[in-house]
Symmetry: C2
Amino acid sequence: MKKTQTVLALAALLTASSVAWADDQDVIDYRRHVMKTMGAQMKAIGMILEKKIPADQLLTHLKVIAATAPQARSAFEPEVEGGAAKAEVWSNWDDFSKRLDILVAGTADLVKAAETSGAAAAASKLPTSLNCKGCHDVYRNAAK
Amino acid sequence: MKKTQTVLALAALLTASSVAWADDQDVIDYRRHVMKTMGAQMKAIGMILEKKIPADQLLTHLKVIAATAPQARSAFEPEVEGGAAKAEVWSNWDDFSKRLDILVAGTADLVKAAETSGAAAAASKLPTSLNCKGCHDVYRNAAK
């Protein structure tokens, strides 16, 4: 995208009163981008835990996960079934939504722990803050 | 991964004198995870610019890109050809490395601009700070 186009696009965006979620496929696409981000970073963290790569980027990986968590919450808020999300996401919204809140708060805590007390402190919080499987087993359609 | 396993793995990691990059495939896999993160977030930002989704997560997207940039620099430092990276990455290392430094600094500036002056200020810096294509045209093998 050329510079002028980008600036114009953003300017238009910022002066518009609001931007609605355009259509269902956009919502599903956006969710995929967000969850793909989370998945890729978790794989990178997994490689650190398996000692396949050095741990020097552990903090930035945690920062990425923490910044992506609110995107996930935002991406699931529109009630659009499809993609890899099971219908239970919305039929059990109170539970699912609570899990997203825990993800957002828990990953922010992970970053704080890593920044103030080092990686070992963050490590003890990892399993509860990043329990991907706990949610995916219930709410993700693995076949999609 | 169970809690105990994770804590033990991290504890072992932190007490080890150092962890080398285990093998070439690990380096390539790690690069893929990092670049996939960047790509997924750029697609999400693209959806915002196209007004397909609301802009309320723009700052977190910029934060993710900024936190991923140093991962990219770290991921390319070991001289391992393969994956989508052209051999020119290492034969032109001074140029490539400089571009990575610009990415790291530029994306950090984007976050600062968005935090202090709002999204419009960040928008004017977007094209120079996130010139994915400029680098990919020269250094990425699109077929892989």
